[in-house]
């Protein structure tokens, strides 16, 4: 087991290094010069060269990459090109809104998704089930920028229940301003929850111990809450955990539509301005979350289920 853990962590570190390398290469090879973008039309070639040198952009790529990696490892992330702030403080300011949005969106998705999955599984293949499946497919297919705008028009512009955009102050202010974007984000996650949970509930429902429970006269709701859900929810939790990566992509768009000062909108601005160190750091951060969650999932599974461990021969 110990060897497995060490190897698994090793693999994650290699993944992170690869990710850092890719993030670095991609942003450097996209055409577009950060200094020219920053200085605008009036900058002369001489000025651009001067500012480029002061930012260290004249150094060989390999040296710039080494600098970036050493920044990551030491945790001193350096200075953003365009925000005249350190990357660490920028990320610090933008972290909470994004984390709050992703958490809120996930909670909403679970609150809506779990009951829907239960109903769909219990009424499998009848019109209710079809209705739920169509609804989740449609909600998955809707681009978040579009569903976000529709929600804003209905609940903010017409009904005046919630603000159209921005990020409120205080706990309730934040909840109010994040409700519409969180719902839009939850829409993209619903299908994942409902589909996985529905199939695993159906699978568990067909097992003998459920039959035995029924034979003893337990009510459907008792069987569902006490016996089925507990066994059926594990695959959904796993899928949900790894889908956080998916949500990070979603926030780039949704934060832009709702003007939430989070990491997604920061990344968007950083890419447009070709703020190399900021883009690289944000990309590695988002990737690190996914790598870490995958690692955690694998390790927990190995801990809980000996069959997953490599070397286990008695499968």
């Amino acid at each position: 087991m110990f060897a497995y853990v060490v190897r698994r962590i090793g693999v994650s570190l290699v993944q992170l290094l690869g990710l850092a390398f890719l993030a670095f290469l991609l942003i450097h090879f996209v055409p577009g010069n950060p200094v020219a973008t920053m200085l605008g039309p009036r900058a002369s070639a001489h000025e651009i060269r001067m500012v480029s040198n002061s930012l260290g952009l004249n150094k060989p790529l390999i040296e710039q990459f080494w600098l970036f990696i050493s920044h990551l490892v030491t945790g001193r992330l350096g200075q953003s090109f365009t925000f005249s702030q350190s990357i660490a403080s920028l990320i610090g300011q933008r972290l909470v809104p994004s984390v709050a949005l992703i958490t809120y969106g996930t909670v909403i998705a679970i609150l809506i998704g779990v009951p829907l999955a239960v109903v769909a599984a219990l009424r499998a293949d009848d019109p209710v089930d079809h209705g739920i499946r169509i609804f989740t497919t449609v909600s998955f297919a809707m681009p978040t920028f579009w569903s976000g705008l529709v929600l804003a028009i209905v609940f903010a512009l017409k009904l005046h229940w919630l603000p159209i955009s921005g990020y409120g102050a205080g706990f309730w202010g934040i909840i109010r301003s994040l409700t519409l974007p969180a719902v839009a984000l939850a829409f993209s996650l619903l299908a994942v929850i409902v589909r996985t949970l529905r199939s695993s509930i159906r699978h568990v429902l067909s097992l003998e111990y459920v039959e035995a429970g029924r034979a003893r006269g337990f009510s459907t709701s008792r069987i569902m809450t006490h016996h089925v859900l507990r066994n059926a929810i594990m695959p959904t939790v796993t899928v949900l955990a790894v889908n956080v990566g998916f949500l990070i992509g979603g926030t780039v768009v949704i934060e832009q539509v709702f003007q939430i000062p989070g990491l997604g909108s920061l990344l968007f601005q950083a890419v447009n301005q070709r703020d190399y160190p900021l883009v690289e750091t944000l990309a590695v951060m988002a990737g690190a979350v996914v790598v870490f969650l995958n690692l955690a999932t694998d390790l927990i599974q190995a801990l809980v289920d000996p069959r997953v461990r490599p070397g286990a021969k008695n499968v």
């Binding site: 300011q93 992509g249 780039v252 768009v253 539509v257 939430i260 000062p261």
Partner: protein
Amino acid sequence: MLAKYALTVSASGGEMVLFNQLEGEEVVSRMNYSKERGVLRRMGLGGAGIAMLASVVTLGALPTMSASAANGVNSSSACKSTPVKGGNLVYARQTGPSTLDPFYPTNGNGDIFADTLLYQGLVMPDPKGATQNVVPAVASSWTMSPDGLTYVFHIRPGIKFSNGQPVTAADVVYSLDTFANPKVDETAVLSGGFKSAVAVNSSTVKMTLSEPTPGLLYNMSIFDAFIVPQNLVVKEGKAFWNNPVGTGPFKLSKWVRGSSISFVRNPYYWEPGLPYLNSVTYQYASNDNTRLLDLQNGQAQIADGIPYSQVQTVQSSSNLTLQSAKVPYWVGMWMNFKDKPLADLDVRKAMEYAINRPLINTSVFKGLGTIPNSVLPQLKYDAPNSVVAPYTYDLKKAKQYMAESGYPKGFSVTFQYPSGFTEYTNLVLILQAEWAAIGINVKLISEDQATMTSLYMKGQYDLTFPYAEFTSDVTVPDEYAAFVTTYGGGGYSFYSWWNDPTIAKMVTTFTHTPSEASRAIQWPKIQAAMQDQTPFINIMDLPFLNAHQNNVCGTYLDPLGADSLQYTWIAK
């Protein structure tokens, strides 16, 4: 150089089917697969999505014209009464500041429009936008020696920074030295001609020039030469810009980076009784739809950067006024003179005559554009159409020029245009069709702004728009006339590789003539010569489009499109 953004990533699809086919244990592994694709897919939708956004919201578009106001005068009846003091204005803006250091802006107008509320220079562009002149600000008056080499500025008696500290000659000298120092002033290129500034006494500053450069005064009217308190900037260093003071009508109250910035009235502001507003909040919404929704919902009272696709929505809203301000903003198209066909004057003339500008104006710009008679934007000293004529649409003439050119059978070119702007997409499609009619085969390439600019500066283009939102920093032609005619020093005439020593010489004379009367005579000749050579094609002069609630009055923009909001008030 307003920032508008779009990514170009293509969306992949076809994953939905997956779910219907899944059962049991297999789900987990297949879901992992769909998750990995999913991230890309969502990003893709985001990129394509933001490009599409402009056309999403069209709320009950009934084409009834509401009053348009020139550079800001709201003609609605509510604004006819006497201005009242008080009120808090929320302004939905496209982009916000990255820094409040006016000497080193890193986010273009996002920085500049916040700076304009906080600081002022010795002089400023006419804040009501009625003229293209500079008017007194921190200096209440000034004199220029007849040779144009010495300026004496008299600091406004009693003027104070927003912390109550008086403005001294030492502050002015320090600020001007900063303006001319390329190490700390990003736009020090605009200080050309500046030699030195000295304090004559505590309220008088003498500025000496190395050669007559009348454009310098205009360059000093904008952000790059704002007056700041020497003692505080020296003492606090970079920290000063987090809590700065200036002589502008407002002072900083709260800055939520990436979200909003709030200002309150500067109690020491020098214009008596101004500003009217208690506070101003710039709330940032880069998404066009979000800004308009904020405005319609009353979450904001004024919004900038109204896209043409939403002009009708604003005009049909009974509580909103569309404001169209004349600014030096143009759809400037560059032709690469390293391409032989484009260096052929007959070809360029043929291209000009083949453009149906009235059609473009109505179909793309809702009739709000102005057909240009200059290859540069609308600037001071420009002659009217009666003196320098615009190119008119004449296909017969265009074909004739083409036949007489070195390329009578036509040729092929690429045309780079910025992604994410509905207007540009519509525009280039029309141009492509119009130039096809004279045998020019145009291949369209959509690029994001940073890529386009970078390819342009390397000369890797045939036809391109260097900047999607292309404006002049100042009202006088000196800046751009020099940029576009300076071939040497790595400038390549603003990366067009056009080289015309005759016009370049005319420009050099113009930019070094101190006499205002003589400049006014010289410029139309340069304008006419450039219009004749047409080294660039000005497709259209465009206004800045803002929209505000009907009861927001006095929303003047200066001739460069910046608002300092000291005359703005909210009617009951």
